[in-house]
């Protein structure tokens, strides 16, 4: 084929241009640490990166919620532990003072102690965390228990999103640890009954409340057990989230991060190509009839 002068130059230009592009690409990959910087460079890898990043953000959101629920439940459990201790003390008092060897004065002093315990439990039952009453149920309007221990909350609970179509309890059912689910009788009624029996020096009345107090202790224990189950479920969820995070991160790294050893090799290859192209162009310039004419 006949070769015209413009062909020689355009070929040299084309080769140098192509090699320069390769060099710039390798340079960019090394400088940014990312294989691709825009979707246009590799739409399939770009989509994977977007998808994995979205997964990671969703995992992060789920984790925050799970951890927040854990904190909520931990505090609830701590409060219920206090309530349980207080009720144990009441149980002791009711068993001991049910014995008719105690006189009215002894029972009067004990009544004051029970009153104090009742007030303490009422305080605990109105515990608030992050603007939410732990035992008010879902509505959360005001203190769930008034001075007389009357419950004004609802028997619902906050369910929080933890996955597609998956909810987990963020709080326990409103009022549950303090109200007997079978009789609807609240711990405050039981304690008031005990107080008036003590004040009235009513031995039979005191002995009657023992079982009632036991039921309330069981009620609290039941709630704590439920919290334990939920906590376990949250731990499982957190573990699953960690595993999902590792997978997503691995995919992300594979698609996004520069493979330095490979890129450096590519860079060397492009550099060699560039050198050859430049050498050939320079030689071509020498091989020209004008250089040989006298």
């Amino acid at each position: 084929m006949r070769v015209s002068t413009s062909m020689r130059f355009s070929l040299a230009q084309g080769t140098i241009q192509k090699r320069t592009q390769e060099l710039v690409k390798a340079q960019e990959q090394i400088a940014t640490g990312a294989k691709i910087n825009s979707l246009g460079q590799d739409p399939v890898a770009g989509r994977k990166i977007l998808r994995e990043e979205t997964s990671l953000r969703e995992i992060e959101s789920r984790r925050r919620i799970a951890l927040e629920s854990e904190l909520n439940l931990q505090q609830t459990d701590a409060v219920l532990a206090d309530v349980s201790d207080a009720l144990q003390r009441v149980l002791e008092v009711s068993i001991r003072l049910g014995n008719d060897t105690f006189n009215a004065q002894d029972r009067g002093i004990a009544a004051s102690e029970v009153t104090q315990i009742r007030e303490r439990i009422a305080e605990l039952a109105n515990t608030e965390r992050n603007g939410r009453f732990l035992f008010s149920g879902l509505g959360n309007t005001s203190f769930p228990f008034d001075a007389d221990g009357v419950f004004s909350g609802d028997s619902k609970q906050l369910m929080v999103p933890i996955g597609p179509d998956a909810l987990v309890a963020g709080t326990i059912v409103g009022g549950e640890p303090f109200i007997d689910s079978a009789t609807g009788e609240s711990v405050f009624t039981v304690l008031r009954d005990l107080e008036s029996a003590l004040r009235g020096d009513d031995g039979a009345g005191i002995r009657e409340t023992v079982d009632e107090v036991r039921k309330q202790i069981d009620q609290v224990a039941g709630s704590r057990q439920e919290i334990g189950h939920t906590f376990e479920r949250l731990e499982n969820i957190l573990n699953a989230l960690s595993r999902a995070e590792i997978t997503a991160n691995a995919t992300l790294q594979q698609e996004r991060d520069t493979d330095f050893s490979k890129t450096v090799l590519d860079l060397q290859e492009s550099e060699l190509g560039m050198r050859s192209a430049l050498t050939i162009t320079a030689r071509l310039n020498e091989l020209n009839l004008t250089n040989f004419l006298g």
Partner: protein, 463 residues
């Protein structure tokens, strides 16, 4: 004596022919880098060969002229390939401009901002009583709306800039078309048109093909007719030309032609090739699809979230409130999306609860908002996936356009090289010719000197 004078004449024609050859070589060398230049060769023949007189050897050499070395088919193929290559290149350039805005996978693109909006609903569902979570929802809504608006606006600005470019290219096309008609006139006037004039018209045809793909039909009178490929629309007929115009229509700027009859023809969808073809594809197919998809997505998200939000109750007991300002139609959604005015700085109004009695702490509606994350919509995809699908589709177009531009450019380079291998100037070849003509000149001059010396001899004899 007569014969000697004839020898002198032969020498003279020899030097003249050599001179013409040097001039032609000079012209070729001078135009080695001129686009559209076809190398020329000297056409020369023996002068006055008269078969009747056997004694006559001839009257030297006669220069017929310089002829272009041209293969019309090769020229046409190179021109068409260039036209297609420019179309692909222009399309790729426009798309890479939009890719800067939409293709970001490193920085804060639209995808993470949308994820943050979805996460804010999760937080709301987890702590519906919390003022901070409510503020977070409003902030995320505001950011999503403003970023979507920014993307939508920038996208439509890219499209507007394409229209501005179209206008420039069409003006240029119109002046080229007029020049071709004028070149036709000059060529028709001359019985034997100068090669320069033909080269110039070919160059104009090349330039025209850089705007749109054309079909050139040569006529017997030396003129050419030029049509827009595959449309039958005539740009040049003989000495007449009919350019194109960019006109504003409700659906946007359209490329129209009035032809020779004066009837308007919308050519927007038939034009392909060249810069104008590339601009139209980028504008109507690539950016148009992206804009539509983006509008659809925005409209879906806004309508669905509004529907859920308005059915719930705010902490202040309010209900029936939209989260976003209501959008009337899909078209233009991305450019118009905004947070509902009543919701600005109104965290109490965020409808987390499903029942009025639970307005204070309920999260039933927040759970519905949070479930939007996994709601399967069009094509059975979740919203974040749908957004990424739109972005990927665009990424595909950017990628394809670049691959296309490279392969079209390679094809064009090959065809141009083929054309150049035939019609291009080779300096080495021309320098060889230069030596050849130099030697021919010297030899012909020597013939004249010899003839002169012989004549001197003859004159000496007489004395």
């Amino acid at each position: 004596m007569g014969n000697l004078l004839n020898v002198l004449h032969i020498g003279q024609t020899g030097t003249e022919a050599a001179q013409f050859g040097v001039r032609n070589t000079g012209q070729n060398i001078a135009n080695v880098n001129t686009p559209g230049y076809h190398r020329r060769v000297v056409v020369q023949e023996q002068a006055n060969i008269s078969p009747t007189s056997a004694q006559k050897l001839g009257d030297g050499v006669r220069v017929v002229g310089a002829k272009r070395v041209i293969d019309l088919a090769l020229d046409r193929r190179a021109r068409d390939a260039q036209s297609e290559s420019l179309a692909s290149q222009t399309r790729a350039e426009i798309l890479s401009r939009a890719n800067v805005i939409f293709g970001d996978v490193v920085g804060e693109g639209l995808s993470p901002i949308f994820d943050d909006l979805l996460a804010s609903f999760d937080e709301l569902a987890a702590s519906p009583q919390d003022h901070v979570a409510r503020r977070e929802v409003l902030a995320a809504t505001e950011l999503f709306a403003s970023e979507t608006r920014r993307y939508g606006t920038e996208l439509s600005e890219v499209r507007t800039s394409v229209d501005a470019q179209l206008s420039v290219e069409i003006d240029h096309l119109n002046s080229i078309v007029e020049e071709i008609a004028e070149a036709n006139r000059l060529i028709m006037e001359e019985i034997k048109p100068a090669v320069d004039l033909l080269d110039r018209r070919d160059r104009l045809l090349d330039e025209l093909a850089e705007k749109v793909a054309t079909r050139v039909v040569p006529r017997d009178d030396g003129s050419v007719d030029v049509h827009i490929e595959e449309s039958g629309y005539t740009l040049v007929a003989g000495t007449f030309s009919a350019g194109l115009e960019l006109e504003k229509f409700p659906e946007g700027m359209r490329v129209v032609g009035y032809g020779f009859g004066g009837a308007r023809r919308d050519l927007t969808n038939v034009i392909h090739g060249g810069k104008i073809g590339g601009l139209l594809i980028a504008r109507d197919e690539d950016l148009g699809v992206l804009e539509n998809n983006f509008d659809d997505f925005t409209f879906e998200v806004v309508s669905e979230l509004n529907r859920i939000h308005s059915s719930g109750y705010g902490k202040d007991g309010s209900t029936g409130r939209n989260l976003f300002k209501e959008l009337v139609q899909k078209s233009g959604s991305a450019r118009l999306v905004a947070i509902d005015e009543a919701m600005v700085d109104n965290p109490e109004g965020v409808a987390a609860a499903q029942e009025q009695v639970l307005a204070e702490g309920g999260n039933g509606n927040a759970l519905l908002l949070a479930a939007f994350r996994h709601k399967r919509g069009v094509n059975d995809t979740a919203p974040a996936d749908a957004l990424q699908g739109i972005l990927q589709d665009f990424g595909d177009r950017v990628y394809q356009s670049e691959v296309n531009a490279v392969s079209r450019a390679d094809a064009a380079v090959q065809l141009v090289e083929l054309q150049q291998s035939f019609s291009g100037v080779s300096l080495d070849e021309e320098l060889t010719n230069l030596i050849r003509y130099q030697q021919a000149y010297a030899a012909a001059a020597q013939v004249m000197v010899t003839a002169d010396q012989l004549m001197q001899e003859l004159l000496t004899i007489k004395r």
